[in-house]
């Protein structure tokens, strides 16, 4: 049994020791539970000027059964600030004036959400500077927040406001527990946004393919998608057939044993999905491996196998999957913080995961994908508590766990929830995004 720092400092001697020494004591994060309220407290909604989306935000919050506060007089669970109308850096004062007083009384596991327009579409230099400044403020707030609270930015394009509801619901809820200091880009949707009948079953009637589904994060992804209503096609290598069958049976899905690097892997997935389930709506490219070595000692086999499994196989499979996926479907790739920050001994892995990020934005814009109304996004997990990270030496593991704003590692379910959000038909305004699930890890930030 690995030593659990978080548990140790949460009570008894550990708590006293941590308090005396000023060691961080991680808060238990608020995670999504079906049927629970979107957020356990009021949401303060403010805007600079009229605000293009403030009215919409209030309506979304109220429809979800959560009360809207307009003054930071009482303790709120979240603050949403509409900065879509800012013209220059001076207008940022609205953000300070609204958020500063609210922070002092905000409930634990709270949310700061700032909505602005994308800096790239600014019409003046002053406006671009101000819009970009928002990101700097929010990232800094993320580092100041305590008690498991997070701060994120949404850039909503002109005319894309209909896509806000999905992102807001996701960010306010426990689904975004370990997502901190990220920028979500909402564009004009690639296909008509469809709201679910039941926000606890946003994937009802969908068929989802999950690769690498036998264990760890992949098994958790399959579980979350199934919980949200999807039928699961669980894919993994034949050698993982035993645990794969367990996952598929537990979720009432089907198991498909194949090596994602095989030339016909994509065709086999399509054949299985068509024959058994009549088609598929969601693909999660999660299968991945590591073969660490310092570059000086890296042989061709290690280099090639990691790139082949983590990147080339996705490119190959997509040739078969993209034409076959139902229109309006969703492809989600699993990248990694190592693809952003790099990692010692992981040139091959870093290459593959950075490649996944590049592929994600390019494929999202590809004509074949746009024509079908498919979204393509990626998650980049930071330090996630898995069997794999449990084997990392104690000191390295604790550094990984604590080097983030939430002072703890994330759980596989945190990665899975973000993937689930990308797979909603309500999220059709979100494509080409890579979102880190890292608790605002210091690395590569």
């Amino acid at each position: 049994m690995a030593f659990d720092y978080g548990k140790f400092v949460s009570g008894g001697v550990g708590k006293q020791l941590a308090t005396a020494l000023g060691l961080p004591r991680p808060t238990r994060l608020r995670r999504y539970k079906p049927g629970a309220s979107l957020i356990p407290g009021a949401v303060l909604v403010a805007a600079h000027g009229e605000g293009a989306v403030a009215g919409r935000v209030r309506a979304i919050v109220e429809t979800a059964g959560v009360s809207v506060a307009t003054m930071p007089s009482t303790s709120v669970a979240a603050v949403v600030v509409d900065l879509t109308d800012i013209e220059g850096p001076a207008d940022l004062e609205t953000l300070r004036a609204t958020v500063a007083p609210a922070l002092k009384t905000m409930q634990p596991t709270g949310r700061i959400i700032v909505i602005g327009r994308p800096p790239e579409s600014a019409t003046t230099v002053e406006q671009a500077a101000a819009r970009r400044a928002v990101e700097g403020i929010v990232r800094s707030i993320g580092k100041e927040l305590r008690g498991g609270s997070t701060a994120n930015t949404i850039h909503v394009a002109n005319g894309a406001e209909g896509g806000l509801e999905a992102v807001l619901r996701y960010l306010l809820s426990g689904r975004s527990a370990y997502v901190d200091a990220q920028v979500f880009r909402v564009d004009v949707p690639v296909a008509d946004i469809a709201m679910p009948e039941d926000w606890d079953k946003p994937l009802a009637g969908k068929v989802a393919v999950v690769t690498g589904a036998a264990r760890g994060i992949g098994a958790s992804i399959a579980e979350v998608l199934a919980r949200d209503g999807a039928t699961i096609i669980a894919v993994d290598i034949p050698a993982a057939g035993g645990p794969l069958a367990e996952v598929a049976n537990r979720l009432g899905g089907t198991a498909l044993q194949l090596d994602v690097t095989a030339d016909d892997a994509g065709a086999k997935i399509v054949e299985h999905a068509l024959a058994r389930h009549g088609g598929f709506d969601i693909v999660v490219h999660n299968a991945g491996i590591t073969r660490d070595k310092l570059l000086a000692n890296m042989d061709a086999e290690r280099w090639h196998s990691v790139l082949d499994v983590n990147l080339l196989s996705i490119l190959r499979m997509n040739q078969a999957l993209v034409p076959a996926i139902r229109d309006g479907g969703h492809i989600v790739n699993v990248a990694s913080i190592a693809g952003i920050a790099g990692n010692r001994g992981q040139t091959n892995y870093g290459a593959s995961k950075a490649g996944v990020i590049g592929m994600t934005s390019a494929l999202a814009a590809d004509a074949s994908v746009v024509a079908k109304g498919i979204t393509v996004n990626a998650v980049a997990p930071g330090f996630i508590e898995t069997e794999m990270t449990a084997k990392v030496p104690f000191a390295t593991r604790e550094v990984g766990r604590l080097m983030n704003s939430l002072n703890q590692g994330g759980l596989p379910v945190d990665v899975a929830e973000t993937i689930g959000f990308f797979a909603w038909d309500a999220s059709r305004g979100v494509t080409g995004n890579t979102i880190r699930v890292c608790g605002q890890m210091m690395l590569g930030a």
Partner: protein, 429 residues
């Protein structure tokens, strides 16, 4: 005349766990553990979690007395609906194939719409029984009323009563092991050491090649760290096999070695069958149809016939009933209990005297194209957990026939202890 069936029995797929050598990876696994794993892998592959299947029919040759309801207990521990009925069958090494015949017949008759046939055996987690004398005396102690009488009964125990008996593959009526019986038959049909070793090498090479092709990816679920049959020797060669000393038979004429005989193994297999309508409703592809099956037995006790020669009698009866000749097949799956079993059977069918005298035919059945025999390896390479062999062969052959195309045909022949043989015909869909 083959019976006219109201509907056909379709083979929809199968699953097995890799076969392990005795006291190997599955040393601690029970029959129920292994059969459950094979069944759950099948359920996952075909999306049957929570489903009520018509029947699960399975068995094991070597069973603990507590396993009297093995198939049903396995269902209860599996992902299938607990409302799925199940029962055990047992016909030595013919168990798995006989289970498939039963399920196919019930489907044809409309008694069930779907069914799973299977088998499992462990040579590692074997039941141990006490000596017959001790067992009788202990039962007497148990029957005695009151502590005094029980103590009295206990005094009847003698040191010589204590002994344990483990299951063996010796024939009850002859005392000879299966290998010794086979050695007699091999001698009678003049089967050479070289021919046996050649067959063994081919079995290993064919099985290894089938793994390389990914043939087993949708036929197998990994278990306890194994994802390939542990007995498989991809680098098997005539030179290596030639170094082995004979283990059955005596003196000059002894040809049977550990290399051309099947080792003791552990494993389990299951096959999913159903009506064509049921398959359609479940989005499942029909791989092949279970056409017909036949069982024969021979009098090996008197020495009239070899212990493992019953399939040589069952096949011509099955062929005649279905209006087919021995050459009308694309694949032959002849279970390799021993290399000599396969070779003796083939030689018998080519033999004028045997076919006329023993089978009552006008002419020999003739030879088969050896390139169509056990093309993806058989028991010599994969191993032979007795009751699991039938399921292994039916699932693999159904897949091969599906790949070959509609109307292709395959013949299965499995010999069994007690002088029995179970054979069947499958047709590709």
């Amino acid at each position: 005349m083959p019976p006219t069936n109201p509907r056909r029995a379709a083979i929809l797929g199968g699953n097995r766990i890799p076969f392990a050598r005795q006291f190997g990876a599955y040393a601690e696994a029970s029959n129920q553990d292994m059969l459950t794993s094979a069944l759950d892998g099948l359920v996952a592959r075909y999306g049957l979690a929570g489903e009520q299947v018509g029947e699960v029919v399975a068995g094991a040759v070597i069973k603990h007395s507590r396993d009297f309801n093995l198939a049903r207990e396995t269902v209860l521990g599996s992902a299938l609906s607990p409302t799925t009925p199940a029962y055990d069958v047992q016909q030595a090494c013919g168990t798995g194939l006989q289970a498939a015949i039963i399920v196919s017949n019930k489907i044809k008759l409309g008694q069930i719409d779907s069914g799973i046939a299977g088998g499992v055996d462990t040579s590692s987690d074997a039941p141990i029984t006490v000596s017959e004398k001790l067992r009788k005396k202990l039962l007497k102690v148990n029957r005695a009323k009151g502590p005094k009488n029980q103590l009295l009964a206990l005094t009847g125990l003698r040191p010589t009563d204590f002994g344990i008996a483990t299951p063996s593959n010796a024939e009850a009526r002859t005392g000879l092991s299966m290998g010794e019986h086979m050695a007699q038959t091999a001698k009678r049909w003049k089967i050479t050491r070289e021919a046996q070793d050649e067959l063994a090498v081919a079995s290993h090479k064919n099985l290894a090649a089938s793994y390389e092709r990914g043939f087993h990816d949708d036929l197998m679920t990994s278990y306890l760290g194994l994802s390939r049959d542990a007995n498989l020797r991809a680098d098997s060669s005539m030179e290596k096999l030639a170094t082995l000393k004979p283990v059955f038979g005596k003196g000059e004429g002894a040809t049977m070695t550990a290399g051309n005989s099947t080792p003791l193994t552990d494993g389990a297999s299951v096959v999913l069958m159903g009506s064509e309508d049921w398959a359609k409703e479940h989005g499942l592809t029909v791989q092949a149809f279970f056409v017909d099956g036949e069982t024969a037995a021979v009098d090996f006790v008197s020495g009239d016939e070899g212990l493992l020669m019953a399939p040589a009698y069952a096949v011509p009866r099955l062929l005649a009933r279905n209006g087919l000749s021995l050459q009308d097949f694309d694949y032959y799956e002849i279970h390799e209990a021993f290399a000599a079993t396969v070779l003796s059977t083939l030689k018998a069918w080519e033999d004028e005297d045997f076919c006329r005298g023993r089978l009552g035919l006008d002419a020999p059945l003739g030879s088969i194209d050896r390139d169509k025999l056990n093309v993806n390896g058989s028991s010599l390479a994969a191993g032979h957990p007795f009751a699991a062999t039938g399921g292994r062969i039916v699932a693999a052959l159904a897949k091969m026939l599906h790949d070959k195309g509609p109307g292709s045909r395959g013949l299965i022949s499995i010999c069994a202890a007690g002088g029995q043989g179970v054979v069947a015909i499958l047709e590709g869909a």
